[in-house]
């Protein structure tokens, strides 16, 4: 049974909002996305900046209202939950943001930041909450005496640990990690990724792991979904990623991963040229065709549907089926 299931999710933002421009143009941030996530699974979501992956994450946490489509959590339609039911849901789905500094209120102590979810749902007495906060701090690798410090006294990696502790406080089932390691040093990235992995087994969590870093995503996820301009173009098992990825965009992303061997410099072949198209006005047909090395006539007119090519591997591309 899937823990999270998303069908045809759409989020359009009005562009150039104003009295005279009402309803004319839309930014198609997320434009018909469907996927599912099993309990205990980590799904990686990769794509370049502006492809809508963060918006997708925020839609799932219900920080943004979807324009169309449905979100199911534990088989319950949560697309339009509000009020009390939404608050109940908040306990089950949490989010960790990229910017570890701006996601912590600079005027509150670490204790009150991590304890806020507990206080919101009135879990335990103040004493119990305090103890739980200290316990959480230890779980994420900080010290219990850090409770009375302020966020600016911590390093980036430590702040991200505080964010993780807050996300864990309510025993969530799903955590949306929105580029949690992208703003950290490489050595710290590895520490945080390992922490997230350990927490997953320790607490039976599921992650939607959003990143633009293929290496990080394939390290932590069981499956990887590749997003391009508001749509998922390929979903594939992590262990198959390097060998079996078929969508030209995925191949291009893989080719763009730097190889630490100067002698193999010449081997990088599929390099995508140009900027991603304007999401205000996506190209007709396959959205990737203007930049695709393999684009054919069909790609310019007909949008390829997501089709299963192997077990646990779906691709949206005319070219790879031929």
């Amino acid at each position: 049974m899937s823990l999270l299931k998303v069908t045809d999710l759409v989020k359009h933002y009005p562009a150039g909002a104003g009295f005279f421009a009402r309803g004319k143009e839309k930014v198609r941030a997320v434009d018909g996305v469907s996927f599912s996530l099993a309990a205990g699974e980590t799904l990686g979501l990769v794509g370049e900046s502006g492809c809508g992956k963060s918006t997708l994450g925020r839609l799932i946490v219900r920080l943004e209202e979807p324009t169309a489509g449905r979100i199911f959590f534990n088989n319950l339609d949560i697309t339009a939950l509000s009020g009390k039911k939404l608050r109940e849901l908040r306990q089950k789905i949490q989010i960790i943001f990229q910017d570890s500094y701006s996601s912590l209120n600079p005027r509150r102590t670490v204790g009150s930041i991590i304890g806020e979810p507990l206080a919101n749902f009135r879990i335990g007495t103040r004493k119990e909450q305090r103890r739980r906060v200290q316990e959480l701090l230890e779980i994420v690798g900080l010290k219990p005496e850090h409770v009375s410090r302020y966020p600016h006294e911590f390093s980036g990696g430590q702040r991200q640990r505080i964010n993780i502790a807050r996300a864990l406080a309510l025993h969530p089932q799903l955590i949306v990690c929105d580029e949690p390691v992208s703003s950290l040093d490489v050595s710290i990235q590895a520490q945080i990724l390992n922490l997230l992995r350990n927490l997953k087994t320790q607490f039976g969590l599921s992650y939607l792991f959003i990143s633009h870093d293929l290496a990080a995503v394939s390290y932590i996820s069981e499956r990887v979904a590749v997003m391009y301009l508001g749509k998922i173009v390929e979903v594939i098992r992590s262990q198959d990623l390097v060998q079996k990825a078929r969508h030209p965009y995925t191949r291009a992303l893989l080719a763009a991963v730097p190889v630490a061997d100067p002698r193999r410099r010449g081997e990088r072949k599929v390099i995508v040229k140009g900027e991603p198209p304007d999401p205000l006005n996506p190209p007709a047909g396959c959205r990737f065709h203007p930049r695709c090395p393999a684009a054919a006539e069909k790609c310019r007119t007909e949008e390829p549907p997501l089709e299963t090519v192997a077990d646990g591997h779906v691709v949206a591309c005319h070219y790879v089926k031929i």
């Binding site: 789905i93 943001f97 912590l104 930041i113 335990g124 119990e128 909450q129 006294e153």
Partner: protein
């Protein structure tokens, strides 16, 4: 899933960890500590603060400091030069000028303070609502503010005070009803920028109510710029109230108020210029002191200069 800690219900939501002031001097409330340090090095701001402190003390201690009853008319002593009984002389009705100045401090400062409090009481909820709720609420509030800002503030206040009739209370109402718009705008802007910060989103996703978000996460960030603005504005506020009183709309005789005293002294400017010089000096000193302190506070609390005009 939420076993263990969830046994007991009904405990008030709130902070679990008490902040220990002084434990991290450089971080008390995150920002206030370094700000105070910066303020300590600013001599002009400290001078302003000292002058204001003296003025406030004078206002509070007026009955003990004033040598005479400020409203007692002694017609035999009118326009008297300084003497032992009347250190600064008397006005056209033989009232002690110094005593009137001292009591005037009380009237001017308290009127301005009450007007400011009223302004805050209006502008903070309105500005926060506009910024936080957004949509048509924001549009409506902002259009009203635009309309009010299109008129020169003091003239509009003059009209309102004129319609309500003379009196200090009406002047406060008039001033507050035009003055809140500027604050509401600034507050809305700050709320808009804070609202999109990720810690607010994180609070929302961990179940904090809108009220909790506003009180715990947004208003604390609104506070320090508003304090700066208010301090910088106190001078103009005092000036505006004195101005309206000078025009006869504010304090009514025999209430000692600086602006009204200026007006009272006006016909005798040539024979007894001190009647205008001393109240004028008093107004100038207070306004200057508030501006100096405001500048210092701005530099201390807002080193990035987001409020610089």
């Amino acid at each position: 899933m939420n076993g263990g800690l969830r046994k007991k219900h009904g405990f008030p939501a709130g902070r679990i960890v008490r902040e220990k002031p002084g434990q991290h001097p450089e971080s008390a409330e995150g920002l206030v500590g370094p700000a105070l340090q910066r303020l300590k090095g600013d001599k002009l701001a400290l001078l302003g603060l000292a002058v204001i402190a003296v003025m406030v003390a004078v206002g509070f201690l007026a009955p003990y400091l004033a040598p005479n009853d400020p409203e007692k008319v002694v017609l035999t002593q009118k326009l008297a030069p300084p003497s032992a009984a009347y250190p600064l002389g008397t006005d056209h009705l033989g009232r002690c000028l110094l005593s009137r100045l001292i009591y005037g401090t009380r009237v001017s400062l308290s009127t301005a303070a009450i007007a400011l409090a009223t302004i805050m009481l209006i502008s903070i909820p309105v500005g926060t609502a506009a910024g936080y709720v957004g949509g048509w609420v924001d549009n409506l509030i902002m259009r009203i503010i635009d309309v009010l800002l299109a008129f020169p503030g003091l003239i509009l206040a003059l009209v309102i005070a004129g319609m309500l009739g003379p009196g200090l209370l009406n002047v406060m109402i008039a001033i507050a009803s035009v003055w809140w718009v500027g604050y509401a705008r600034v507050i809305r802007g700050i709320v808009l920028s804070i609202k999109e910060k990720e810690f607010v989103l994180a609070a929302r996703s961990s179940g904090t109510s809108h009220f909790g978000i506003i009180v715990r996460h947004i208003l604390p960030h609104v506070l320090s710029p508003v304090i700066v603005l208010a301090t910088l504005d106190m001078g103009s506020l005092i000036l505006a109230i004195a101005g309206l009183s000078f025009l006869g709309l504010g304090a009514q005789p025999p209430t000692p108020e600086w602006g009204a005293m200026l007006n009272d002294g006006r016909p005798y400017m040539q024979v007894a210029p001190q009647l205008m010089i001393y109240p004028g000096l008093a107004i100038m000193t207070v306004v200057l002191a508030f501006n100096l302190l405001g500048d210092g506070l701005r530099d201390a609390l807002d080193p990035q200069g987001t409020l610089r005009r």
